[in-house]
């Protein structure tokens, strides 16, 4: 589908409707394809840069619709449903909202945007405590994954688990 707005702007618009949501953006020195190869890989790269994710399993894919089972480092499990397509991901469960976007930056590189956090159950709202800090951590990890050689990525994952 063609949009009049790019994916990062879409994320800002979505976040505008979600009280408590913060959006963290960063320009990464890599093409969209390379960045999304990490972000959009829900069972791989995604779990590596999202600070609280221990394991993610894709249960179902139908077109851009996706359903995943995520386990956190603290033992929580979440069944997330939503949309995944190149440059765009929006997922929600009863207790979580996750939004990710990536779009080519006119000056070069890729602008990524992250939002989401702990959802106020069944509401379009996020518990605002520590949300920005978690998103910043995710952005830093993502940048490291995108810009580091492959071996470094594996080590950082081992060190966390």
């Amino acid at each position: 589908m063609m949009y009049a707005v790019d994916a990062v702007t879409r994320l800002r618009i979505m976040a505008a409707a979600v009280p408590g949501a913060r959006v963290v953006e960063r320009v990464l020195p890599a093409p969209l394809e390379a960045v999304w190869a990490v972000m959009g890989d829900l069972e791989g790269g995604f779990g590596d840069f999202q600070p609280d994710m221990r394991r993610v399993r894709v249960l179902r894919v139908s077109g851009d619709r996706v359903e995943v089972l995520a386990s956190s480092r603290h033992g929580f499990r979440a069944r997330l449903r939503g949309h995944l397509q190149p440059g765009w991901c929006w997922l929600q469960s009863r207790f979580l909202i996750i939004g990710m976007a990536a779009a080519p930056e006119p000056g070069g590189g890729t602008r990524v945007a992250l939002t989401g956090g702990v959802r106020i159950p069944a509401r379009a709202a996020i518990v605002p405590l520590g949300t920005r800090r978690e998103l910043e951590r995710a952005a830093v990890r993502l940048e490291a994954l995108v810009t580091s050689p492959p071996g470094v990525h594996t080590e950082s994952k081992r060190g966390r688990s």
Binding site: M1, Y3, A4, V5, T9, R10, R12, I13, M14, A16, A17, V18, P19, R81, G82, H83, W90, Q92, I97, A122, R123, A124, A125
Partner: protein, 170 residues
């Protein structure tokens, strides 16, 4: 817009307001072309900026929409307001030619160019034109939406249409 499409938008707005962010996601897909259709003829080259700003405004205040049945009128009002605001801001940065300067007989190349005529109208004139001739609102409704007296809406519309007539008869 078909009744079925309109009802889908209303249902999505209702579900989004109830807290379903996937409905919010689908509502954004649903409303984007509608908002662009309102914003682009008013904001012209700045249409994409106007569309984005209108969508942010719509989504920021979605919680204040009391009656989802009123979705489209509510979105249209925000879109027009944002398009006029963005176009005025752009006009301050790039002063446009006065309406009285165009179109002139004997200038067929310019006169035959609708985009050029539109570009030389002020954002306020374009807003009236879009509401009346694209969206099909009556004068009172267009005036109410733009928060101007009906007489002002009527004169702006008359001036805008007159520009087009001159353009095509040049």
């Amino acid at each position: 817009m078909s009744t079925e499409r309109r009802e889908r938008g209303v249902a999505l707005a209702r579900a989004a307001r109830a807290g379903n962010t996937l409905a919010l996601h689908d509502l954004l897909d649903h409303l984007t072309p509608y908002v662009a259709r309102v914003c682009e003829p008013i904001a012209l080259a700045d249409g994409p900026d106007a569309t984005q700003e209108a969508l942010v405004a719509v989504f920021t205040s979605l919680r204040t929409l009391k009656d989802p049945q009123a979705l489209y009128g509510w979105v249209r009002a925000i879109a027009v307001r944002e398009a006029v605001r963005v176009a005025r801001r752009a006009a301050r940065a790039r002063p446009a030619t006065e309406l009285a300067d165009v179109p002139q007989p004997g200038d067929p190349q310019l006169a035959a160019d609708i985009a050029d005529v539109l570009a030389r109208l002020s954002p306020d004139h374009r807003a009236v034109l879009v509401l009346r001739d694209v969206e099909g609102l009556d004068e009172d409704a267009a005036a109410a939406l733009l928060a101007i007296p009906p007489g002002t809406a009527k004169s702006r519309l008359s001036r805008a249409r007159s520009s087009f007539r001159k353009a095509w008869s040049a």
